[in-house]
């Protein structure tokens, strides 16, 4: 097992928290006339709304290096910045893991934050010396296999896994070279990724399977569905389609990737705030050799034939506001698969698993019910 946790720089929690809150939480003009201190009743005053809550939790996680588990997200802990600082100190003392590098810290935290919710981590040896890292929940069949978008970690399925827990088994692997999966090969190509994921599935997931892909992870999902049709009950494609002109699409993606703001704007209906930590994550992913390796050679070729010869019941779930994959591309892909269905999600972009996880689950369940 790789060693993964060191000490995160601690800093002065209360100082950092108050500074962050004054800079980021005061959204309206009337709010900006006040100065928050440790005793300001932020909850009572309505300063904490659903958006500021998310940015506050992200800040605590990424900058202070402390995970606030679900069961501590209670009104009493958020009455003032003081009560929140007390909670954070308490969690730090109780030895919640923290880390030094901000990007890796954020990545690991995004994975570890799921553990208290009953989502286990697992290492699956594949391809000799490589190790696929996966999130896992147990439960009845069918087992769901959740493949992340290119560059996204297994934890991008976090909300889906939390809701699925207790209802079905599921496995969400990190691709080789992404998340925290380990590989000696720095830049595994698409073929190597498919092979590794198949191996991981053979080890850890019991058929019948429901394969769910996000974005380019859908390429791998479709490939595996094609290779082992008798083990796959259904294929679900989210945020992906048949790209008519792969070179042009690739150029667009490269251009977007050059500017995190534009990428987030294209990918999300409600883009997350571009914090320093998110920016670090973004650069970390783009800098990984596996990123480009996936989209070159066999991966690039797979794009135009991804949806051919599929004999599996297939559901496409597409955000109507997806700026990465067009509605035409989704319809074109569905037209290639006999009997495929498309469900469109309003106010949703490229990543339904992030923006509308419950809605995504709803449509997958409805689809599975029609197959029984």
């Amino acid at each position: 097992m790789p060693s993964e946790m060191n000490e995160c720089s601690n800093g002065d929690i209360t100082f950092e928290l108050v500074r962050f809150a004054n800079r980021e939480l005061l959204s309206t003009a009337s709010q900006r006339t006040i100065t928050l201190d440790l005793d300001t009743p932020v909850l009572e005053m309505g300063i904490l709304d659903s958006l500021s809550m998310v940015s506050l939790l992200t800040f605590v996680q990424t900058t202070l290096g402390v995970v606030i588990p679900d069961e501590k997200v209670l009104p009493e802990n958020f009455e003032t910045l003081g009560t929140l600082a007390d909670l954070i100190t308490q969690l730090q003392l109780s030895g919640r893991p923290v880390h030094e590098g901000v990007a890796e810290c954020a990545l690991l935290q995004s994975i570890r934050i799921l553990e208290p919710a009953g989502i286990r981590r697992r290492w699956l040896p594949v391809d000799g010396d490589a190790q696929i890292h996966a999130l896992e929940i147990s439960g009845p069949a069918p087992g769901w296999v959740l493949l992340p978008g290119l560059g996204n970690p297994s934890s991008s399925w976090g909300a889906v896994l939390k809701s699925l827990r207790g209802q079905n088994a599921a496995l969400a692997p990190d691709f080789l070279g992404f998340g925290v999966s380990r590989s000696e090969r720095l830049a595994p190509d698409y073929t190597a990724q498919v092979r590794a994921i198949r191996e991981a599935i053979d080890t850890a997931a019991k058929p019948p399977l429901v394969l769910v892909g996000s974005s380019a992870g859908s390429l791998v999902a479709a490939e595996i569905a094609r290779e082992m049709p008798d083990k796959v009950k259904a294929l679900v494609i989210t945020g992906f389609g048949l790209v008519e002109d792969p070179p042009a699409w690739r150029t667009m993606l490269t251009r977007l990737s050059g500017s995190p703001e534009s990428f987030l704007k294209a990918a999300y209906y409600r883009p997350p705030r571009l914090t320093e930590a998110l920016l670090d994550l973004f650069h970390d992913v783009m800098g990984r050799p596996a990123y480009n390796a996936f989209l070159e050679g066999p991966g690039f070729e797979a794009m135009s034939s991804a949806f051919d010869h599929l004999q599996i019941p297939t559901l496409f779930i597409a955000g109507r506001e997806d700026g990465i994959i067009s509605a035409e591309a989704v319809s074109a892909a569905a037209a290639r698969v006999p009997g495929a269905r498309i469900e469109w999600l309003a106010r949703c972009g490229h990543f339904p698993a992030a923006e509308q996880p419950e809605e995504l689950l709803y449509y997958i369940r409805r689809f599975l019910a029609t197959l029984n």
Binding site: D49, S50, L74, K162, E343, E358, Y362
Partner: protein
């Protein structure tokens, strides 16, 4: 006066509470008379059922009829947050429907009659008593002048917001409770913009700020019920129901504003006070009350109709037990406790939603998800307190103490 009539049970009101009660009792062999003031079918607000209503409907074998009428299937509730900056979806514990109440209430009333209940269009003027015990009702048939008398062993008040037994001083006084200042203004629209797919058939709630919200409830393939709920004084300030509706349709939430332009308003704007209230006591010797006749709560989670149906089913068990063993006290008090458990759970859930909307949204996706889904389906009457209720009650009492 002609020779005196007798029924085991006289039910005041033929809405969902009265009809379900009548059907359960008649099915078990009791003789039942429903006295309903209105000529059915008649309009009523309250279109969204919750999951537990589907259980009652299925027991009566009415599920197929619900689908035949094309009542939109409700698989969940979408809450769109302030400024449409956030949204979350809570699946229902069990699929149910959103209904056109005129038709739905008729289906339930017909079901009661089919199972042997008698229904008359009549106004109830008073009760007969023997000492403390209620022993019958005085009523006037529609179109007649003279008052009639019917004797019975139990009078059940299912008169809805009229809360007749409270007004007749049989039940306790009606007291307003927590959310007592809201008014709803509403109408139905053809051709409003819905979300794509079956997601668009669900109940949508638009949140603005505390006690300012709107509903958007599909009731047929092309008609939606839209309601704006605001504090009463604000409706006044805005210049009445019509003006308040226009204001709310544009201002409550940008996503609601986007849905309505260009669609056909099918009826004038109506207004209803959402004044929450409770009647105590609501059971006694020879009488009990069901549904809105004893309590009304903030309709934000659409509990009203389903609660009335569940209470009716429970009341039928209590009444049958009292008819069998001749003693009302124990079964009626058990029924009362059942109602109080459910209503208290609903009130606490709603208080928590208004007081801590951020946490409600967060927790409905987190570890309290299952509990919250159950509660929202109106499965709220259990004697065992769920984890969600324990946590919410703790937070509410902390806030009250502060």
């Amino acid at each position: 006066m002609t020779s005196q009539e007798f029924f085991d049970v006289v039910i005041i009101g033929g809405g969902p509470g009265g009809s379900v009660l009548a059907a359960c009792l008649a099915q078990a062999g009791a003789s039942v008379l429903i006295l309903e003031m209105a000529s059915f079918p008649r309009y009523h607000i309250g279109e969204s059922l919750t999951g537990m209503a589907a259980v009652v409907l299925e027991d009566f074998g009415l599920s197929a009829e619900m689908d035949r009428r094309q009542f939109p299937r409700k698989d969940g509730v979408k809450v769109i947050g302030k400024g449409a900056d956030s949204e979350f979806w809570v699946p229902v514990f069990r699929p149910t429907w959103q209904v056109r109440r005129a038709e739905f209430d008729q289906i339930l009333l017909d079901n009661a009659i089919r199972r042997g209940a008698t229904c008359r269009q009549a106004r109830v003027n008073g009760v007969l008593r023997d000492g403390e015990t209620v022993t019958g009702a005085l009523y006037t048939l529609d179109g007649e002048q003279n008052q009639r008398e019917v004797r019975c062993r139990v009078v059940a008040d299912a008169s809805g917001q009229a809360a007749l037994l409270s007004r007749l001083d049989v039940a306790g006084t009606l007291r307003r409770t927590e959310f007592d200042k809201q008014v709803a203004v509403f109408s139905q629209f053809r051709g409003a913009r819905r979300d794509p797919g079956t997601m668009g058939d669900n109940t949508f709630l638009f949140y603005s700020e505390t006690y300012h919200w709107a509903w958007f409830i599909p009731v047929s393939p092309d008609v939606v019920s839209v309601g704006i709920v605001l504090p009463g004084e604000e409706i006044k300030r805005l210049g009445g129901a019509e003006a308040a509706f226009r204001w709310g349709a544009e201002r409550i939430n940008p996503d609601l504003a986007w849905r309505l332009p260009g669609c056909e308003q099918m009826e004038p704007i109506r207004a209803a006070a959402n004044y929450s209230y409770a009647v105590d006591p609501f059971v006694g010797p020879g009488w009990l009350a069901v549904g809105d006749a004893h309590q009304f709560i903030d309709p934000i989670f659409s509990f009203g109709v389903t609660f009335a149906m569940l209470e009716a089913r429970e009341a039928s068990r209590a009444i049958l037990a009292s008819l069998t063993n001749g003693d009302w006290r124990e079964p009626f008090e058990e029924y009362r406790d059942f109602c109080v458990r459910g209503q208290t759970a609903a009130l606490d859930l709603i208080s928590y939603f208004w007081k801590f909307p951020v946490f409600f949204g967060y927790q409905s996706r987190g570890e309290l998800r299952k509990d919250i889904i159950r509660l929202l389906s109106s499965d709220a009457h259990s004697k065992i307190e769920s984890r969600a209720l324990t946590q919410m009650r703790k937070a509410l009492s902390r806030a009250a103490a502060a």
